[in-house]
Amino acid sequence: MSNLTVTNINGKNAEAGRVKARCFLQVLAGLPVVKGSYNVSSLTDCGAGRYGHNLVNPMLDTEFSLSALSKSESNNLYINATERFNSIRTVSFFEVNPISYVNGSTSDVGGAGYGFSSVVFGEQA
């Protein structure tokens, strides 16, 4: 029988199955508003349909898993999402945007029936 000794010398949170950050935002009256979140300190509205997320407890490295999705009450083009193609991901920042499945363009997810959610998995510092 072998023993597995686990030490937490780096203080990291390695619980792999747990969500490490999440955010649901809406664009209301022209401004992004956080409607529900965990481990997010602020949003950075970087431009039309470009939503940067800043984390309170940084991730251990930049190789964390990220998932994002738009929400729509009705059928519209912007139900997909992607990490911004030229954004610089850090341990405490990532930028995502809704994309059109027709032509790949980016736009805001405006209105009360719309929203944008992001979830982060991985190891926290």
Binding site: V40, S42, G47, D61, Q124
Partner: protein
Amino acid sequence: MTQLAELPLWQRLEIARQYLEPVQSDYRVVFEPDLDSTVSTLVPDPNWMACALQGGILPPVQVYHDLEYDENGRVLNGHILHETAPIEAMSEEEAIEYLIQKDVPAQVWKRAQGNSVRLVICRKTQLPATRNWRNAWKLIQEKAA
């Protein structure tokens, strides 16, 4: 009895998320990350703001600046996030100053002085109410006398 300050940062956040009412701030920070891009607007997170106003949860902002990285960008001393004593309650204005130092790029807020306006703290009602021409937003370069 376990004190909140003895818990790692992520556990303090979990507990705060459970017990504190989110606080939507009216403040926004508008800044120009560089000359070529449109302005960015920083929106404080309501749960983070609740933590800032409560006190005893968030680490001093200096801790974020003291993080060390290896050549692959991996955090080497993450323990300081959890072991440094949390700061006391802040006012909303102090929380915004904290947030600027944490989430706005250092090249924007660290400049000693210059002849252009690169960062403005305002209320959300002072921002345009429509997203039309969002990517053309610029800061007005007129300094108050």
